[in-house]
């Protein structure tokens, strides 16, 4: 986990030479002390030294993943220079957690950050207390109460907290993630890279063509450093078009190797804080097989993959003719904001018998044909099941005295931790219409229960995909359906452009027993 890869760091040269550049830590830290879990250090799935490493990984043993996770300062070198970030376990990104449905996550969490500065805002919707934190299990269908996926906790500097998250036996398999979720410091901490992938095994993993493929985990982040060291202001994060250097697994423009004829399975997480990340690889085939962890009906060849902050996508990438290819975000408009292209990584297709790849390394060659497996509990929600319909209106107001005189709202109200905005009961099945009054898209995420997307801007989605984060288009609408069957308690729905969340775009959902 503390392995330091040695590679030349030279941002400009990397851009020109299309060679990867390492953003290594210059001070190693202690690794997570796994107690009842298996650990893997960061490594290349092909065993090539200058290949992109998968993040370090911690896996459950005998139904339990018991480990230490801590939030602390992590010294890194970003393309913009050396800095200190708030990260998990001195790792950018945090370690991947890999479990099975039915397992229990027992995370001994510790906040190792120093005390907050005394001059903190007291208004709840102004970013504040960047050293206070907690943990959210994004996409997990688990209890929101007590020491489970409870985002109302404030874990102060120096405090420890034991999370026990019981994952149901019928939990959908897929790619999920974890990150801090303390209102007021979410954007600052996630924007600095405090996030990691969480994998629940099954479903797609058992498809023969996917099972025999090399698996990569790609965590996309754009860490924002403080102006003069440690980030203590929201200002560098706030502008949507703030210059950002996108990293994959903490590396700037890394190399990713694929053998000629090989099909690799990539689990991709967009753990950035604000900018969307549509991407393509000119010259290589990309097949989408899952969104937000849930399988698509079948593997689909796509020109471009669309990710908003918080989304995950599972893809198969096929190595064609040997050569170099770019993984890039094209120029695009995020609502009214034009955003520049990003050169994220360099893909190298190498000969199938490249001697650097150890014998016995998996070598997938086929794209699965026919239907992909379902997650059994994610059954289509029919019209007849709906017990209630709601309208959720996303807005923004200029209000003096708030951060940049701005309040983001849902149903015309900024977040109030004391107010229950949605009250429902166990057993309810609801259809929500999200209406975006602003000229920018908002990726809306609801905790605990995934939803089935019915339509976007009034156009029905024939796949009716199950997701947990959906971009509501600028001046547009989304209709989704969701079931409140298993977990009572209070949790939140919010915009995953996290500066919007911290400045008001969040509501409380209270599911009564």
């Amino acid at each position: 986990m503390t392995k330091i890869k040695r590679r030349t760091f030279l941002k400009g040269a990397a851009a020109l030479s299309a060679s990867g550049a390492l953003l290594h830590r210059f001070a190693g830290g202690t690794s997570a002390q796994a107690q009842e879990a298996a650990t893997l250090t960061a490594r290349s799935p092909l065993g090539i030294s200058d290949d992109l490493f998968n993040p370090p990984e911690i896996s459950s043993i005998n139904g339990q993943l018991r480990t230490n996770i801590y939030m602390g300062f992590n010294k890194v070198i970003l393309p913009s220079g050396p800095t200190i970030l708030r990260n998990f376990n001195n790792s950018l990104p945090g370690p991947t957690l890999r479990i099975n449905a039915g397992d229990t996550l027992e995370l001994a969490f510790e906040n190792r950050l120093p005390e907050n500065r005394p001059d903190q805002p007291t208004e709840v919707n102004i970013p504040n207390h960047f050293n206070t934190t907690n943990l959210h299990y994004h996409g997990f269908h688990v209890s929101p109460k007590g020491n489970s996926d409870n985002v109302y906790l404030n874990i102060e500097p120096g405090e420890k907290f034991n999370y026990v998250v019981q994952v149901p036996r019928d939990h959908p398999a897929g790619s999920y993630w974890y990150h801090p979720h303390r209102h007021g410091s979410v954007s600052a901490q996630v924007a600095q890279g405090a996030a990691g992938m969480a994998i629940i095994a099954g479903a797609l993993d058992d498809v023969p063509e996917i099972k025999e493929a090399v698996e990569r985990v790609l965590v996309i982040q754009a860490p924002i450093p403080g102006v003069d060291g440690i980030l203590d202001s929201e200002d560098p994060i706030w502008p949507l078009d703030a210059e950002r250097d996108f990293l994959v697994n903490g590396e700037y423009k890394p190399r990713i190797y694929i053998r000629e004829g090989e099909v690799q399975r990539w689990r991709i997480l967009h753990a950035g804080d604000a900018q969307f990340f549509p991407f393509k690889i000119d010259g290589l085939e990309i097949y989408e097989i899952g969104r937000d962890g849930n399988p698509l009906p079948e593997a689909r060849l796509v020109e471009e993959v669309h990710l908003s902050p918080g989304n995950r996508v599972d893809v198969l990438v096929k190595g064609a003719t040997p050569g170099a290819y770019l993984l890039r975000r094209p120029f695009f408009d995020q609502g009214k904001q034009s955003l520049p292209p990003v050169h994220l990584a360099n893909i190298f297709v190498i000969p199938a018998n490249d001697s650097r790849v150890p014998p016995g390394t998996p070598f997938g060659r086929e794209i699965p044909k026919g239907p992909l497996p379902d997650n059994p509990i994610l059954v289509d929600i029919t019209d007849a099941e709906i017990t209630h319909r709601r309208k959720i209106v996303l807005g923004v107001e200029d209000v003096k005295g708030y951060f940049h005189d701005t309040l983001f709202t849902i149903n015309d109200e900024p977040f109030d931790p004391k107010r229950d905005d949605v009250v429902s009961r166990l057993g309810a099945v609801e259809e929500w219409t999200l209406i975006n009054k602003t000229p920018f898209p908002h990726p809306i995420h609801i905790h605990v229960n995934p939803f089935q997307v019915m339509s976007v801007n009034g156009v029905a989605d024939p796949d009716k995909p199950w997701m947990d984060t959906i971009a509501v288009p600028a001046a547009g609408t989304v209709v989704f359906r969701t079931r409140f069957l298993d977990f009572d308690g209070r949790y939140v729905m919010h915009c995953h452009i996290l500066p919007h969340e911290d400045t008001g775009m969040m509501i409380n959902v209270n599911i009564e027993p």
Binding site: I435, P439, N457, G458, V459, A475, G476, T477
Partner: protein, 113 residues
């Protein structure tokens, strides 16, 4: 992003002050093309653009549109006769407008060239 939003509101508010009226007014000036949008319409500009020419690809250009057509469209959004998809966004935008305000906004956008 915020800069643009704030600018839209600030521009309309300052213009309203210069025009001698901060309170919402339904009066339309003699030369609407060179008159700022009434304050109650400032929210229109964030999507439809300062001059009725939007920066969003799926938002209609309403600069120079026939005022009667615009007024009828706004009334139909308000009454719920135009519904579904992005019409739901317009329903939210016009729900608190009076008919006089609808007419004033329609004339203002219709006068933009």
């Amino acid at each position: 992003m915020m800069k643009q939003l704030n600018l839209s509101l600030a521009t309309s508010m300052v213009a309203a002050v210069l025009a001698g009226s901060v309170a919402p007014s339904v009066a339309v000036a003699d030369d609407p093309q060179n008159t700022p949008i009434p304050a109650f319409g400032s929210q229109c500009l964030s999507c439809h653009g300062e001059d009725g020419r939007p920066e969003l690809a799926d938002v209609p250009i309403i600069a120079g549109q026939q005022p009667i057509y615009l007024a009828n469209a706004l009334r139909h959004y308000k009454s719920g006769e135009r519904t579904g998809g992005q019409a739901l966004v317009m329903q939210e935008m016009v729900k608190n407008l009076s008919d006089e305000q609808i007419v004033a906004l329609s004339q203002w956008f219709g006068a933009q060239q």
